[in-house]
């Protein structure tokens, strides 16, 4: 049976302010989805909610993983169940080395029932794997000794996110503007790596404002978010259309969502 991440009629608020207003989305493992939409429409919010960010309150609807409602799970449990998000703005953790962090993360995700203090994956095996992955991403191995996202350039941060995905091998991955901040070559490389890691292994949700990442990760579906709702779903051609023409047609076709967009923008 294919594994599925299913979002039904999802309503989400932050500090009492509604942001998502009834999102429906089903991602099967092996599929690639693109999620586009104007700034502030709620794309990152959707990603964060799927990942289990504690500040986002689900007021209605549900998130199911293979039929099980995971809305109450914390981020740890979701990560260990195979959900991953490459963040738009990854957090810096000063003093914590990438390698130490990743060794804990990798161990936990591969051995979901691990308790604190229990053994980590063997150093040698971990190092070997990490070095391989870093070479694939053309990252200097010195990078493993740097502190997590601390003083990383924009592009380094995004690469580090992909590296984490490569190590964790999730079932479902949300990539939130992983292409922004990368130079032209780096976007190509990232795009390639995602395809290599992902292939038919992952269900991927690519949040993007461009279409470069999609070159090698042709979306099976493209979704457009406006005013906290997915208003239209199409194929890869929809992504190209939005990239070239913008959102005027969308706003015109979905006046109710366009009004909601206005309201949300004013509430800020």
């Amino acid at each position: 049976m294919t594994e599925t991440l299913k979002i039904t009629n999802l309503h989400v608020s932050v500090e009492g302010k509604p942001i998502l207003r009834g999102v429906n989305l089903t991602i099967n493992r092996g599929e690639t989805h693109a999620l586009m939409g104007p700034n502030g429409s709620g794309k990152s919010t959707l990603g964060n909610v799927i990942m289990g960010h504690p500040n986002y309150e689900v007021t209605e609807g549900k998130i199911e993983l293979n039929g099980e409602d995971i809305s109450e799970w914390d981020a740890t449990e979701r990560a260990r169940a195979g959900i991953f998000m490459a963040f738009q703005r990854p957090m810096a953790i000063p003093g914590v080395k990438m390698a130490d962090f990743l060794r804990h993360a990798t161990t936990n995700v591969r051995n979901p029932s691990r308790k604190e203090g229990e053994e980590l994956i063997p150093m040698r095996q971990f190092r070997k794997e990490l070095t391989e992955k870093m070479e694939q991403l053309r990252m200097d191995t010195e990078f493993a000794r740097r502190y997590v996202n601390d003083g990383f350039s924009g592009g380094e941060m995004k690469r580090a996110e992909i590296l984490q995905m490569a190590m964790l091998r999730p079932k479902f991955a949300i990539l939130d503007e992983t292409d922004s901040g990368l130079d032209v070559d780096a976007v190509k490389l990232a795009s390639q790596s995602i395809a290599e890691i992902g292939g038919d292994q992952m269900g991927i949700l690519i949040i993007t404002h461009h279409d470069k990442l999609l070159d090698q990760n042709t979306p099976d579906f493209t979704h457009v978010m406006l005013g906290g709702k997915i208003v239209e779903t199409g194929g890869v051609e929809l992504a190209h259309e939005l990239y070239t023409d913008g959102y005027d047609r969308i706003r015109a076709s979905y006046p109710e969502a366009a009004v909601a967009e206005q309201v949300m923008a004013e509430a800020v």
Binding site: G52, M91, I93, P94, V96, L102, E116, Y147
Partner: protein, 468 residues
């Protein structure tokens, strides 16, 4: 000191029997503090008259001094304390007397059996004589003196009379006076000119150690161009039935010398840990204090460096971790007494579960001390809303041409940081302990390897809330 090898091998043995020489048996442990008890301590130790007089004089000073009005609440009944227990009395305690939580912590830290008993005060002496005997021999050949301070009073009277109580006189503060009156144990180190000791000297290397004392007295003299790194304490919780620990540490670093003094202490929750530590640094020398404080009910400790001559440098790295029912009032003092001197203070504190950490620091530039630089950074990390952190920086400058920087920051453990780590499969506890380890990483980097590992493990345990 001309030591011949055959004699050296037996040193450990001889000292063991020392504990049961008849004179010791005359002494009956007695609570409270008065001139008779102080004189008795001195007699017990077969001290010369000058030391006995020093103790008695110190007692008078102690009695005349008021309690410090700053820092934390010191609720101590001075008459309800044993001021001197001979090693045999410590030994009288049995493993069964040690509370279960302490034993559990030893287990979690993976402390070897022999060491456990020693740490818990069941044994007066860590059985390390055989292992470290050759090391002592090595040091001896270089002219290094490394012994306990009691022995030093008997065997090195000239050095002692010249330096003992000169950096921290009994008049300095009430607890320095108390220590001066009743001190026992501690380390004495002398490093001759130009001698470098290239591994950290640790208290438990010492033969004939009486180091679990409450009123330790340590004196370190680093002669010209010499260097030493001394490490005291350990990360395992130290358990004693006595509630007051008040040590005095004096360090002298002569021209071109270097000294580093590392302390990691993790006291049981009932302990008042009131310690005076001070170093004087002469021309172009470097004094470094690395001070880690965990546990205790109240710790008041401000390692100081007095830069006496041009080119002297002082560096202090301090870390405090306070949890429920604990107050760490820790900090540093740097006093620039000469031109072209430099100091640096890095203080990191973590407060958790209702704990309170304060940074109390003094940076002083004396008249005439031009072209000085001082840099102070103190960062506090607060893990929950029940916990507290304060900063009390004092700056006294009597010269124009100086450069003084002070930065302070207080942060709460970020929800976003936690979420980030948890989204990678770390549990919440694992995530917060990782953030905390990262926070103190600048200090951990400076520790000898085995201490760094233990310290990290200990922080993890503290974060899991499984250590008292």
């Amino acid at each position: 000191m001309a030591t011949d090898i055959s004699q050296d091998v037996t040193v450990g043995e001889i000292n063991k029997y020392d504990f049961i020489t008849p004179s010791h048996d005359v002494f009956k442990a007695q609570k409270g503090l008065n001139p008779e008890i102080v004189a008795q301590i001195s007699e017990m130790k077969q001290e010369p008259a000058w030391m006995r007089d020093f103790r008695l004089e110190s007692l008078k000073i102690f009695e005349s001094k008021p309690m410090p009005k700053w820092g934390g609440d010191i609720g101590i009944d001075f008459q309800d304390i044993y001021y001197y227990l001979k090693p045999a009395d410590h030994q009288g305690k049995t493993w069964d007397d040690v509370p279960q939580e302490i034993k559990d912590t030893f287990d979690k830290l993976g402390i070897p059996e022999a060491e456990k008993k020693y740490l818990a005060g069941v044994k007066a002496q860590f059985e390390s004589e055989v292992v470290y005997g050759s090391l002592q021999e090595d040091l001896g050949n270089k002219g290094v003196i490394f012994t306990d301070t009691d022995t030093a009073v008997r065997e090195h009277p000239d050095l002692l009379r010249e330096y003992f109580g000169k950096i921290i006189p009994p008049t300095d503060n009430k607890f320095a006076a108390l220590n001066s009156a009743v001190w026992s144990g501690g380390s004495f180190i002398y490093v001759p000119p130009g001698v470098h000791i290239d591994f950290p000297l640790q208290a438990y290397f010492r033969i004939n150690a009486e180091q679990m004392g409450q009123f330790e007295r340590t004196l370190i003299i680093v002669d010209e161009g010499a260097s030493v790194h001394y490490v005291e304490g350990c990360t395992a919780p130290m358990y004693t039935t006595e509630s007051l620990h008040s040590a005095v540490v004096e360090v002298i670093v002569k021209k071109n010398g270097r000294a580093r003094y590392t302390t990691i202490q993790n006291w049981a929750n009932n302990i008042y840990n009131l310690v005076t530590k001070r170093a004087v640094a002469y021309q172009d020398s470097l004094m470094e204090w690395i001070d880690g404080n965990l546990g205790s009910h109240l710790t008041m400790k401000y390692p100081a460096v007095y830069m006496m001559e041009p080119g002297a440098r002082g560096e202090i790295l301090s870390i405090a971790f306070s949890s429920k029912g604990q107050h760490q009032d820790a900090g540093a003092k740097v006093v620039h007494c000469a031109p072209h001197t430099k100091s640096r203070i890095i203080s990191k504190s973590i407060s958790k579960n209702g704990g309170r950490s304060s940074y109390r620091g003094l940076c002083k530039v004396e008249k005439g001390a031009t072209d000085c630089k001082s840099n102070v950074v103190c960062d506090a990390l607060i893990l929950d809303s029940a916990s507290r952190s304060d900063t009390y920086p004092y700056i006294e400058v009597e010269e124009q041409d100086v450069q003084i920087e002070h930065e302070a920051s207080v942060s709460r453990i970020g929800e976003e940081q936690l979420f980030y780590l948890m989204s990678r499969g770390l549990s919440e506890a694992e995530a917060s302990s990782m953030i905390v380890s990262g926070f103190i990483e600048p200090l951990i980097k400076e520790l000898p390897m085995e201490y760094a590992v233990e310290m990290n493990r200990l922080i993890e345990l503290q974060m899991e809330g499984s250590v008292g």
